[in-house]
Every structure is written in structure tokens, then in C-alpha cells.
Amino acid sequence: MKSSWLSAIVAFGVLVSSTHANAQQISAAEQAADAIFEPTAVERVRAFALSDQAIRERNLRSSGLFYHISAELHRDKALEAAGRSDRLVLVTSYRYEGDLTLLTFINLTRGTVMKVESVQHAPTHLSEAEYLIAREKALAHPQVAAKLAEFAGKVTVEAMVSRSPYNKDPLYGHRVVRLLFKVPQGYVVDPIVFVDLTANQVMVDSPSHSHAKRAAGKAAPTHNQHR
């Protein structure tokens, strides 16, 4: 079971996080109960495979970066009304080209893909693989490394996707990750680090001038101030 799950991670770059859930001891009963709430590891592998195939068949997979992000249980009233308790899974995937989120609705019981939807510029969380890339890039940046040097060995890196809603912002439609640096005493406030995974660029800012400036005459602020 574990090896197949790990294989899926390698194959699809799916989300695996050192969450609190993983950190604690989980009993067999709790594991069994979890299947009520989330797809099992085996189901995830199957769902990602079905999603991958369906996306390719619909020519929605470009040659650029692409990640399967998550698999979650889903419901459909029409099926429930028909008295069917099929196991439904929604796979969320992300394609860098076009800032495209892909939603694959899967009936695992029947082994079929019910629908694939694509949504542009939608908030979509980060895969573990993307998080690791962003972290590596940020920590390798000389400015970041210098400012975190005093906390060596004590930093936990957290990540959030930051979005620009303004289509004139150079970062509009980019996969941008804000990294936070947690240390035993609290959070490090300087540097402020954004990683633009689409442009493969690390942006470093300092709180002293962050967000204090606003470009005159613009309809909305942009991420430029972080560069």
C-alpha cells in the first residue's frame, strides 16, 4: 500500500505534506474511519490515473508544468436520488500554461470520468512538489540565506499561494508562492519572500518598505513592489 502511494507521488507529483495528521500515531480504527472522509491511498492512485488519462484525451495537458494537486470525496445528488452510493472523487490539477485549474469528476465505483472542467485564474492550492521547489529556490537565494543565517537549523518554511486579481500586474496568472519562516520564538518578519514558479524567479522584500508604496495612477496595486 505504502509503496504504491509513494509511486503515485513520484509519478504525479501529488500532494504529500508533513501535516499534523501524519505526525501523530493513527490507530487502525482511525485509519478505517478516515475512509469516510477522504479517498484511500489506493483510490487516490486510481483517481489520479483516470484524471490524467481524461485530461490527455481532451488535449488539456500542455507540454509545460502540470501537477495533480489533490483528490477529495465528492457527492452528486442525482446519483444519491437514484439510490446509488457510488464512490465519487474530485481530482484537482493545475496547468501552468494559461493558469488553468482542471477539475476531474470521477466515479470510482464505475471507473468512469463523469466530467472534466477547466477554470482559468482560480485559487488552487500548491502541490508538495511545488512547495519543495519554491523552498529550495528561496533558501538558495543569497539575500534570503543571509537574512536567515542566524536561525540556521531552526526554521520551518511554510507556504501560501498569493494571487493577483489585476490583469495588468506582471504576476497576473503566475504561480506565486509566499514563504513564511517560523522559528521557535515566532515568525521571522524579514525577509518577505515570494517565489514566482511560473517565471522561475525569487522576489525578496523587506518590511520597512513593503506595502507602503502604491504606484500612482494605477487602478490596482501590483506585485512589482516585491521585486
Binding site: H20, S70, V119
Partner: protein, 382 residues
């Protein structure tokens, strides 16, 4: 002293004996109803009052997932011990949490912004009376002060609360649902923990973006209306009107403070003993109305016809564009609640020039779903 105590106790007993039995104060923790053997792990049944003879009750199911938080997958209410449960909710959840900062950036979606997990239940979460529904979810029956008073008579109100904590990096969100003895459901999001590092003194909003699939006595035949209180400084008179939501089709409306804006949802086919359609009111709990650059935030209430593939709050303006009927239909409510957070000294301090320590105390927003003509008389009276 002893005599005084004895006489006081005698008076209290005399008063209590004149009250309805269930109204007598319960000391200590209110008990959770024992769950049937073999019940699903995601189900909670709670009878009210929690002690004595049951009068009303809830049967709920919930879900939890990484990146989704805690959500409700079914809520059924029983108005009397002998009647069957009536479906109220098919699904209710935070579709997202939006946190834009005043300077315009950053702008985070705190539910979908990363693979944010729920925090395992800690002893402090349980307090003296809570219990684990599972390792991430707390359940507890609470006394919620008076349900009603009539001179010397009265009844204390009770509710089942189900809650969990979302670890959204520096922030935590408490996601809490309350199922009350009178059929009311409360939806709350509480923002707490660390202000955003590097922006710890920057004002920002925490918008709860709720999606509520309400199914009164089943999925179909529900109608949404807008309740407006019409008043004027130039008139002694005021009135209340119920209007079809967005003309009866998918769309939006806004909260108007001096109109006490609410949504009213009725089932067209089910009536109470008085012949009135059973319904629920969506009652906002708000200190302000968020308006951001993003289109989804330009309106407070949206209503769509149910579609199992419509899941993303930021897409709601697109979902309503085909203007399907939300009259005598299967409807979904989308509602934004908001907390505007201006940082204050009570949020924390700098332990060194470069490290911020301290947590913002919990700030709540949300709304209630309250029965209207669901009962044919005052519930839990006497």
C-alpha cells in the same frame, strides 16, 4: 447562615417546581446523546434537552479534508420525538476564506491557498465538557442561556457544537457549526493566531465564503426570497416585504443595514400544522460588508441552482450567468461574512527586531439559519 441557606434553597425549590421540568438548571456538563451502536463514524445524533425526555433533536453528518476544513454533509431536524427527521441541509461549508491586505497585496485564499490541514484535537480544545468526534473534530453540548422567559418561567437553551481548527500557516481558523434545540443552525469562522509575518501591522480582512446547499424536506421545490424592512425617517410607518430573489432566477443581492436584509427559503410542498410553508431564514451576523477588486466580493448573497460541479466561490459570478430558476427548485446559497482586522498591540510584539511573537485573539463572523414556520407554535414551550 445555615438557616439562610436552607430558606434560600426552599425558595429555589419552590420556584423550580413551578417551572417546566426541562427548564430547571442543569449543573455540570450537558451530556451528549449516546450514539447508536454501529452508527457511521461521521454521524452525530443529539436530542434536546440533553437530559430528561427528548423534545427535539438533530441528526447530522460531517466531513473533513485537507484543504477543505470541516464541513456538514447532512443535517436533519426532528421537531417532536415521534415524528421523522426532516432534512434541512445537504451540504454546508466554507468554500474558501479570502484574506486581502489593505495595500492591495498580498491577497490570500486561506482555505485553498495550500494543503492546509486540520489541527488534531488538543486537551485545551475539549475544556471541561467537550469530547472528540474524531481526532480532528470536537463535539460538545452547551448551555446557551435563556431560550425564553415569561416572568418567573423560562427555559434554558442548548446546542450541539461541532468544531475544528484549520492550520492556515501563520493563521488558524476555528470552523464551528452549532445545532440548536429550536432548530437554528449557526455557522461561524473565527480568525486567530499570528498576524502575517512582515505585514504584522497591516490591516486586512478575513472573509468567510460560505456555500450552503439547503434542502428543506428534500432537494427540490425550494424557493428563495429576499426579506426587506422598509422604513423611512419621513414616515411613522414601516413595513416588511418578501421579494423573489433576483426576480426568481440565479443572481445576487446585497445586505442593506437599514433594511435588515435576510434570505427566506421555503419548501413549496411542505406545510406546518397551520398550513404555512416550512422555511428557514438566513440571518447575517456582520459588522460590515467586504468589497474588494474581485467580482465575487461585490455582493453579499448569491443564489444558484444546484449543480454538483459548481464548487469554487470565485466562480460564482459565472455560475449565475445563465440565470436558472431559483423558484420551486433545488437551490444553493453563497454568502460572504467578514471580519476586518486592524492590528493592535494585543496581537503580539517583537521579541527581537526581526521576530514577531504573539497571537491575535479570535475574531468571529458568520450567520444563522433560523426556522420560520418550521414549527406551528413556539418550540420548547412550556
Amino acid at each position: 447562615m445555615k438557616t439562610l441557606l436552607a430558606s434560600t434553597a426552599a425558595v429555589m425549590l419552590a420556584v423550580l417546581s413551578s417551572l417546566p421540568a426541562a427548564a430547571q438548571t442543569v449543573t455540570g456538563c450537558l451530556p451528549l446523546t449516546p450514539q447508536p451502536s454501529g452508527a457511521p463514524a461521521d454521524q452525530i445524533i443529539q436530542d434536546f434537552p440533553a437530559t430528561g425526555t427528548a423534545k427535539t433533536g438533530w441528526r447530522i453528518t460531517y466531513g473533513r479534508a485537507v484543504g477543505k476544513g470541516l464541513y456538514i454533509t447532512g443535517a436533519y431536524f426532528r421537531r417532536t420525538p415521534t415524528e421523522p427527521y426532516i432534512k434541512v441541509l445537504n451540504d454546508a461549508r466554507l468554500a474558501d476564506i479570502f484574506a486581502p491586505y489593505d495595500p492591495g497585496t498580498p491577497r490570500y485564499f486561506d482555505l485553498t491557498g495550500f494543503n492546509f490541514a486540520l489541527v488534531p484535537v488538543q486537551p485545551v480544545d475539549l475544556g471541561p465538557c467537550g469530547a472528540r468526534a474524531d481526532r480532528f473534530v470536537v463535539k460538545e453540548v452547551r448551555d446557551r442561556e435563556m431560550l425564553w422567559k415569561d416572568d418567573t418561567q423560562g427555559r434554558r437553551a442548548q446546542e450541539l457544537v461541532v468544531w475544528s481548527t484549520l492550520d492556515a500557516a501563520n493563521y488558524n481558523y476555528i470552523i464551528r457549526y452549532g445545532f440548536q434545540d429550536d432548530g437554528t443552525i449557526t455557522f461561524r469562522i473565527g480568525a486567530t493566531a499570528y498576524n502575517l509575518p512582515g505585514h504584522e501591522l497591516v490591516a486586512h480582512a478575513h472573509d468567510g465564503l460560505w456555500k450552503i446547499d439547503i434542502d428543506l424536506n428534500g432537494p427540490d421545490n425550494d424557493t428563495v426570497k429576499v426579506s426587506r424592512h422598509l422604513q423611512s425617517e419621513s414616515s411613522y410607518e414601516a413595513s416588511n416585504v418578501l421579494e423573489p430573489f433576483s426576480g426568481g432566477t440565479e443572481g445576487y443581492t446585497d445586505f442593506v443595514a437599514d433594511e435588515y436584509t435576510e434570505l427566506n427559503i421555503t419548501d413549496e410542498l411542505t406545510t406546518n400544522a397551520n398550513g404555512n410553508k416550512i422555511g428557514y431564514d438566513l440571518k447575517p451576523m456582520r459588522s460590515g460588508s467586504p468589497r474588494h477588486f474581485e467580482e465575487f466580493s461585490h455582493h453579499d448573497f448569491w443564489v444558484t441552482k444546484y449543480n454538483s460541479t459548481e464548487t469554487i466561490y470565485t466562480e460564482v459570478p459565472n455560475y449565475v450567468s445563465n440565470q436558472e430558476s431559483v423558484t420551486n427548485s433545488d437551490v444553493v446559497l453563497w454568502y460572504q461574512s467578514s471580519t476586518y482586522h486592524v492590528p493592535r498591540n494585543e496581537d503580539g510584539f517583537y521579541v527581537t527586531p526581526n521576530v514577531w511573537q504573539g497571537v491575535a485573539l479570535v475574531m468571529w463572523s458568520g450567520f444563522d439559519l433560523k426556522p420560520r414556520n418550521f414549527f406551528s407554535a413556539t418550540p420548547l414551550y412550556p
